[in-house]
């Protein structure tokens, strides 16, 4: 980690840790408040880095971790406060936030210059809906795991909610692909080229579609359904954090 943004990112992660601690004891709104406080401090860290390096957190693994730490915290914090139905997802969500916070501590913070092709308004929309997709799929996975731990009607409610959040994830993922395609057309003169990240992202979309169809077309046990929902998030996690981990920039081949 580097610079003063590190302090604020650590404070933010501390709030996420508090949220995780509370999550196992209560489903009170305090968890949501802790997570939102965490997101505010991570936002401060992003702002400081932005000011220092001159561009938003779009490029390196470190920046993607930082921006995801903020966006996932914000999305879940708001959902937790507004919808009691998602509160049971809290242990999983806070656990993932904490994992990202720890990963951030050991990630390489060295900035790289922003390519001219990244200075495009469609990139903003692409990133925004991408974060919403990841947030929704994380909540869906959290609810699926919470359903596995529940019994009776509560289990059914959590299962149903998990499928609804997965559907929301599909909407945002589709929007991410469309916005990304428009950006790619402007930036590199083609809307689709099967670069590693495009392929992984399309694979995630396809897997989500297959899972949603499987629910309708084959006798899918509730347990297998939960596993598949969690698998969607795992695949999305690998797409977001795995591809940048093995290359320097998300769309490295196209920079």
């Amino acid at each position: 980690m580097m610079g003063s943004e590190a302090i604020w990112a650590i404070v933010g992660s501390g709030f996420y840790a508090l949220g995780t601690g509370l999550a196992f004891k209560t489903d009170s709104p305090w968890v949501g408040r802790m997570v939102l406080n965490g997101a505010i401090f991570v936002a401060l860290a992003i702002g400081l880095r932005w000011h220092a390096v001159g561009h938003g957190p779009f490029l390196t693994l470190y920046e993607i971790l930082l921006s995801s730490l903020f966006s996932l915290g914000l999305i879940y914090g708001i959902a937790h406060l507004l919808s009691p139905a998602v509160r049971s997802a809290c242990p999983t969500v806070c656990g993932v936030l904490l994992l990202l916070g720890v990963w951030l501590l050991i990630a390489e913070p060295r900035p790289t210059p922003l390519p001219a092709t990244y200075e495009n308004p469609w990139l903003w929309l692409h990133v925004l809906v991408g974060k919403l997709f990841l947030g929704c799929s994380l909540i869906a996975a959290g609810l699926a795991l919470a359903a596995a731990a529940a019994t009776g009607e509560e289990r059914g409610r959590r299962d149903e909610a998990a499928w609804q959040w997965l559907l929301a994830a599909l909407v945002f993922h589709s929007a991410m692909l469309v916005a990304g395609a428009v950006w790619a057309q402007d930036a590199w003169g083609r809307y689709w080229a099967w670069d590693p990240l495009e392929t992984w992202a399309f694979g995630t979309w396809l897997f989500m579609v297959a899972v949603l169809h499987a629910r309708r077309s084959v006798p899918l046990s509730a347990r297998l359904g939960r596993l598949l929902i969690v698998a969607v998030f795992v695949l999305a996690f690998l797409t977001f954090f795995g591809v940048p981990f093995v290359s320097l920039a998300p769309h490295k081949g196209a920079v």
């Binding site: 495009n120 395609a181 930036a187 579609v209 297959a210």
Partner: protein, 339 residues
């Protein structure tokens, strides 16, 4: 194929199990394509055909799908995207072009990279001329924005850059990172015939150490040209434009001799004379034409909107179902306690 299998064929083609199988096949094809591109492409094409047929059949005959207007329209949108993407591939054109500052565009300058069988020929009119080119560099030789001015015959100026293409008759001209210096020359033959030409030097700054090129005069003499360019300070921001080479002399080598010409100077040689007029920049463009693009974008937006509509209607229905089951529960409770 047995009669019972034939009889069940429409149901198989329509079933969402086939969608599932097609999706898994496509996923496997994509993985395969990453490992063995050509073999994987077949698997991808086959799975897309299966999915397309399944989708069309479902739209025509799946009653459950037709019962959900939002879901139905979403699937129509998906099919439309597939058809438009296919049409785009058939009518697509990809090419490249290099223009020097002041040079008039002409379709014959475009080198075809690939084109679909349905692509018409390039428009025959060249209506613009390359204006000033500048490229921003940040410290450490990191390329920033490209600024390219294009001047149309009606006097209109259009500025294009890395992510702002020029649009002419559905053709998109994108600037590329390929650019360099060009020496503008005037050749005057012994009989007084004057010819103007441009010698492009290699891409700059990526090949700054090899800034030379060769040209044969109309009289048949081989000349080698090079520019003795100033050294760029890598630790600071700078801008690449023709001004970088404004005072740079042109070095000409032929038959073991070297001449140095400043802009405007003339060199007499066998069969005529050569005047070094000026230095400018040349810029490479990527040319792309896909007539399906605006339709594809519209179809994608409609598809997205209908998916969002389906999500909202599902949420609303689920909320209503939960409210109704709670009401039933309250009524049964009230009945049980005798209220």
């Amino acid at each position: 194929m047995s009669e019972s299998t034939l009889g069940r064929l429409p149901a198989i083609v329509v079933s969402s199990r086939l969608t599932l199988a097609g999706s898994l096949l496509l996923g496997a094809g994509l993985v395969w394509q990453q490992i063995r591109p050509e073999a994987g492409a077949w698997a991808v094409t086959l799975s897309l055909l299966v999915l397309g047929t399944n989708l069309l059949a479902a739209l025509l005959w799946d009653k459950r799908l037709r019962g959900h207007p939002a879901l139905f329209l979403f699937h129509v949108g998906l099919l439309l995207i597939g058809v438009l993407a296919g049409w785009g591939q058939l009518a697509e054109f990809k090419g490249r072009l290099v223009l020097a500052e002041g040079q008039q565009f002409h379709p014959s300058l475009v080198e075809t990279v690939e084109h679909g069988p349905m692509h018409p020929s390039l428009p025959q009119e060249g209506r613009f001329r390359q204006g000033a080119v500048a490229v921003d560099y940040r410290a450490g030789m990191h390329r920033g924005r490209t600024h390219s001015q294009l001047r149309f015959a009606d006097g209109r100026d259009v500025h294009v850059g890395d992510d702002i293409p020029l649009l002419v008759d559905g053709y998109r001209f994108y600037t590329t990172s390929n650019k360099g210096f060009a020496a503008y020359l005037e050749w005057t033959s012994s009989d007084g015939t004057v010819e103007l030409g441009v010698v492009h030097l290699p891409s700059y700054p990526i090949r700054e150490m090899t800034q030379f090129n060769r040209w044969r005069t109309p009289a048949g003499e081989d000349l080698e040209f090079s520019l003795d360019l100033p050294v760029i300070e890598r630790g600071q921001d700078w801008r690449l434009s023709r001004d970088v080479a404004r005072e740079t002399p042109l070095l000409i080598r032929a038959a073991g001799k070297t001449w140095q010409l400043a802009p405007g100077e003339r060199l007499a040689m066998g069969g005529g004379s050569l005047c070094f007029m000026d230095v400018g920049l040349w810029l490479g463009y990527r040319v792309h034409h896909d007539p399906a693009l605006p339709w594809l974008f519209s179809a994608a937006l409609i598809t997205l909107a209908t998916l969002a509509w389906f999500l909202v209607s599902t949420w609303t229905r689920e909320r209503a179902r939960q409210a109704s089951s709670q009401q039933v529960l309250r009524r049964s409770w009230a009945k049980a306690v005798g209220l």
